[in-house]
Symmetry: C2
Subunit: 401 residues, 2 copies
């Protein structure tokens, strides 16, 4: 008996059969005596289809009109899911973002939630209705529809859970939970029963593709207990919660991220502020820099290497070319054939041996390390892309077996 | 210079090309210095596709959820049309029914408009924006989305025009205007320059398929000048307006309606109130009766014939069968192979010869008349369906040539 918020992604409701399947799960939770609020994304390819329609007419359409367009996708899926639950004979109501009162700022297509009103939700829950809410969307102070950007429905679900003080926010996806590594190529990978918010944040940003970062950040901030579960089976998922409730394990996950490119500026003048010039130039232009290595200068020149996402590579190179008189590098090289391999674990902060063990695993596998970066709960290395999967397996088995 | 409300139907915006075409027309009106408010229906088959999705999941879905579902169709088309206008470089904003404040009663799927708020509309017009409004939809006192039923976008357009005091409400469709008869089979049919509200009402309900009745009723009530025009060419359309502004013509149009079925109750007991029993039974069950003939009774029995729509035929026959002990007809017969052919004209009220001329035309064409009904501005006859087109041509040419 409690208040459960569930979130189902687009692939979980992509056709009539999947919608009925989801409806059955929701009804099961409801029949156990819970109040149930469900957040749904747009069905399968709906959003892509709508984007295509817009592109055909105006590739430079305003974000305000894109939000008007795209938010219809979730409106369709909430109505269909409500109909499926009606078929199962349970009381239900579907609500759009504006009907709930998901109030956001005015940044169309990437809006941030300011506040979630709860009057209508409580009203419907008091009537013992299952409430189906359109994810990904909100309303701004002009009464215009906004969307929350990538991973928006996860964020909607966590925001509703926080506003309602839900006992748990269950995120249903097409994987069983959070794994120690990608089970598609790491045969010894296993599912974690729980994980801390911070570890999840690192895993999410490192390409684990399970939960969007913003939703984890929000869950951490408002102490919302998250559960990552599969919508396709009944396997117990992974709980994301406060760190002190989490099982102590040195390393919780090993990830690989192929979406990175390395840029090296060789023979840069060895004067103070040179690195600052380069990185402020990039950040002013909206390019995030990830791993950074700067060689110890010889008093005359030094080398600066860093990684960006592949999508930002061309833009970054262009900016560097434009400012070559300022940067004065002898040579600029770059490569897309690199991957970032990382280990994450809240336990490693107190254990100096973790890095050593990681490097040993790579050495044993004859894998060369290009760059290294560490934080309190993460160590990342840049390796050649061809070595990346082997690197993950080697590191995973070294720590986990 | 004025305030123009335009309405475009689903086929006018069915694909990117048509959307751009409509955008160009709107911009033309805007560039002439007008304030422009545009009402749009869902694109082409969108509504049918959404209904199919719903049917697949739950053929008995609640009307509340159907309205939630279907209203997304217009949300898509307003956004796309706004994007097309953005491409043409004019200021524009799209609005849903709830954003405008189209307030309706709570009868989902067939809601009536109570009131249209104008604050947001005036606000946007003051900013010199073209305003694109989702037709067919409104919002009720629970903040739930309602739809207006068949022809709903026409009604939306007229309601907005009335609320804003627009100079004209232009209804764009795929015909050039209102014709004296269906030009597909009456080669001498010609387009009317103008027509009165009452004439248009009779033509609409007689199957002219140009404007929905509710929108004409509303236009009459609020003195909204309507123009029916083609979205595909620049032909001057037909104006629907006050009767005294309309050209005097005895007969304004000849129509045919195949969607009717005749039921005959033969040998019914000739006592007072018998017809009342039959028709109150049908009306209580939501069946509208159109033409009625009752033979003069012989003191013992009489015959009662009437027409209903084809869709209501089975239900009507079933009701009559259930109450056969009450109705006590000797025989019940029915036929779907009938058509109603009608002439409409505000001038005929003062001219007794009109009916005679009509019957003469049918006599000359050797067409048998089954039933006759007259009103102040209309005369309808029931003929065999196979004769219907010939009847229309004969009557049309008799009056119009």
């Amino acid at each position: 008996m409690g208040l459960v918020v569930q979130k189902y992604g687009g692939s979980s409701v992509r056709d009539a059969e999947r919608v009925m399947n989801v409806a059955n799960r929701i009804v099961e939770t409801y029949d156990q005596g819970n109040n149930v609020v469900v957040v749904v994304s747009a069905q399968g390819d709906t959003t892509d289809d709508l984007i295509e329609k817009a592109q055909e007419i105006n590739p430079k359409a305003s974000k305000r009109e894109m939000d008007m367009l795209l938010s219809s996708g979730e409106q369709i899926s909430v109505a269909l899911l409500a109909m499926a639950i009606e078929k199962l004979g349970r009381p239900v109501v579907s609500l759009t973002g504006w009907q709930v009162g998901v109030q956001t700022d005015t940044k169309y297509s990437a809006a941030r939630i300011h506040k979630v009103k709860t009057e209508r939700l409580h009203d419907e829950l008091d009537k013992k209705r299952i409430v189906i809410v359109a994810g990904f969307q909100g309303i701004n102070k002009y009464d215009d529809i906004t969307t929350l950007g990538r991973g928006g429905s996860d964020t909607s679900a966590v925001a509703l859970a926080a506003a309602l003080g839900a006992d748990v926010c269950e995120i249903y996806t097409d994987v069983d939970g959070v794994y120690t590594a990608d089970p598609r190529f790491v045969k010894n990978a296993f599912k974690l029963d729980d994980i801390s918010y911070d570890e999840m944040l690192e895993l999410a940003s490192l390409g684990a593709n399970v939960l969007h970062n913003r939703s984890v950040e929000m869950a951490k901030k408002y102490h919302v207990k998250l559960a990552v579960k599969s919508s396709l089976n009944k396997v117990e998922g992974t709980y994301v919660k406060e760190v002190d409730q989490v099982e102590k394990m040195l390393v919780r996950g090993v990830t690989r991220d192929n979406d990175c490119a390395r840029i090296a500026l060789c023979g840069v003048e060895d004067t103070p502020g040179k690195a600052f010039q380069v990185f402020s130039l990039l950040s002013k232009n909206g390019i995030s820099v990830d791993l950074i290595i700067q060689s110890i200068g010889n008093g005359v020149t030094k080398d600066i290497s860093f990684t960006v996402t592949e999508g930002d590579l061309d833009h970054a190179l262009q900016l560097i070319e434009e400012k070559k008189d300022l940067i004065k590098a002898e040579k600029v090289t770059w490569s897309k054939d690199v991957s970032k391999v990382s280990i994450v674990g809240a336990g490693m902060v107190n254990n100096a041996g973790v890095a050593t063990t990681m490097f040993e695993a790579l050495y044993d596998a004859h894998i060369n390390i290009n760059m290294i970066a560490t934080s309190e709960i993460k160590i990342s290395v840049l390796v050649d892309q061809k070595d990346a999967e082997r690197a993950v397996v080697a590191i995973h088995d070294k720590f986990m077996l």
